[in-house]
């Protein structure tokens, strides 16, 4: 009978944490791109686009990520679309991430005052030029802290992919618990690894926030 040393436990958890990191990166990058596309629809002039994004956000923010994972994994499979676990996990996480990012970013774009739109319009700029040269550069600065802050939610969200069989950090935790019968140690270690991944992100988001707020006070 093989026995797990604490080092075995930690090593296996760390190996599994690679998946957590990879999934987080995929969902954040994919969700970021999708979120950006949706953002343009959301603040664009076309009503249909705005309504579509509103509905999208309502749906994906209004249902548990867990259910989205289930549906992406088994739901699509029933229609004969073969979705491997990594794809379902990636897909659900990307859609979910995008739904939150688009709302965060919309708030940032709207925080740019109306005067900036009007001033740039009265200088003869068109919509795209206003966005490109005046609005987005300002919105991006405001957007960085909450975006970094949200990345913590994404890292934690990847834990749910364990439910569709993805052996990332959480799943590795349960599997190892079962091979070792040391739940306290294993879940303690799992929590610590998550903390080590997330805390720097939260902290830097706080620091950025403070920095930008100070910068704002100069106005």
């Amino acid at each position: 009978m093989m026995t797990f040393t604490v080092w075995d436990i930690l090593r296996n958890l760390l190996l599994a944490a690679r998946w957590t990191v990879l999934l987080s990166l995929v969902s954040f990058l994919g969700g970021g791109l999708l979120g950006l596309a949706l953002l343009f629809l959301r603040i664009g002039k076309r009503r249909a686009g705005r309504l579509f994004v509103q509905g999208y956000v309502e749906l994906f923010q209004g249902t548990p990520l867990l259910m989205q994972l289930f549906l992406a994994f088994f739901g699509l499979g029933l229609f004969g679309i073969d979705v491997p676990a990594w794809l379902a996990a990636g897909l659900a996480l990307i859609l979910w991430t995008a739904a939150f990012l688009v709302e965060i970013w919309r708030g940032c774009v709207e925080s740019v005052t109306r005067g900036q739109w009007e001033a740039s319009a009265s200088l003869g700029m068109g919509y795209v030029q206003q966005m490109r040269y005046v609005i987005l550069p300002q919105a991006v600065r405001v957007a960085i802290p909450p975006t970094v802050g949200f990345s913590v939610q994404v890292v934690k969200g990847t834990a749910l992919t364990s439910i569709i069989g993805f052996v990332e950090l959480s799943k590795a935790g349960t599997v190892v618990t079962n091979a070792t019968f040391q739940p306290f140690t294993v879940y303690g270690l799992v929590a610590l690894i998550y903390f080590a991944l997330c805390w720097p992100l939260s902290k830097s988001s706080q620091i950025l926030e403070r920095k930008f707020n100070v910068a704002h006070r100069h106005h």
Binding site: D8, F74, G77, I164, V167, T174, N178, F181
Partner: protein, 243 residues
């Protein structure tokens, strides 16, 4: 890929050169992980045996009791070798091969707990893995005021038993034995049997070629003693004659 096209899944498998098999990783001795997190156990060895006899590579897909049938239904795997028991409900949705492993469902509890028959479960909390045969059977025979806690996977059931969240578990005898072997704080001992429900390989309906092939391999393995060797290795016992 239209589902009709898989009228002959065997062809697909041969063409692909890989067979995808759902196996447990939370259900010793049928499936668990080693210190390097690779799956190992009775089911895994059977899966490898079948793949080698078919002359294809094997792709092991770790599943839980709750999701192994959806995996099959959504064509994410070709076979389920995951200590799957047969019952009428399941036979409506999937097909079964011949039996490949013995399995006795029982109710287990530490020696201090007085349970000898289903009626004694009154007021007791019983842990079981949702969707497993013992879940379905226990639901039928347990008295109404026995509390059944259904966990997502065997990890949950076993953890719940070991952490004392449930006093009693319903599971396979070999599972209980495997738990015992690791010298846990709570030692499960057999209180009564629920059902003799040997394990079958699950596959999608209307796959006669694949079914025939799998059955042929099982029969050959029984005859040449290779299946018995697996039983010796993981269950420390010979295969029963009537399997």
């Amino acid at each position: 890929k239209a589902p009709e096209a898989r009228a002959d899944a065997l062809q697909d498998v041969t063409a692909r050169g890989t067979i995808r098999i759902a196996v447990p990783q939370d259900f010793p001795p049928f499936g668990s992980v080693g210190t390097d997190m690779t799956p190992m156990g009775y089911d895994i060895d059977v899966a490898k045996l079948i793949a080698s006899k078919m002359g294809v590579k094997v792709e092991l897909v770790p599943v839980t009791s709750a999701n192994r049938i959806p995996y099959l239904q959504t064509n994410k795997v070709d076979l389920v070798i995951s200590s799957l028991g047969k019952n009428a409900e399941r036979e409506k949705v999937i097909d079964f091969s011949d039996a490949y492993a013995p399995f006795f469902n029982g109710v287990f509890a530490p020696s201090g707990v007085a349970v000898a028959k289903p009626e004694d479960l009154v007021g007791k909390t019983v842990g079981v893995t949702r969707g497993a045969i013992e879940d379905l059977e226990l639901t039928k025979i347990a008295p109404t005021d026995a509390v059944i806690k259904r966990y997502e996977d065997n990890n949950g059931t076993i953890s719940a038993f070991l952490s004392g969240q449930v006093q009693v578990v319903a599971t396979g005898n070999v599972v209980a034995a495997a738990i015992l072997e690791r010298n846990p704080p709570k030692r499960p001992e057999l209180k009564f049997l629920i059902k003799n429900s040997p394990c079958f390989i699950g596959l999608n309906k209307e796959q006669p070629a694949l079914l025939a092939k799998v059955n042929a391999i099982i029969a050959a393995a029984k005859a040449d003693g290779s299946l018995n060797a697996i039983a010796q290795k993981w269950l420390s016992a010979d295969l029963p004659k009537d399997l």
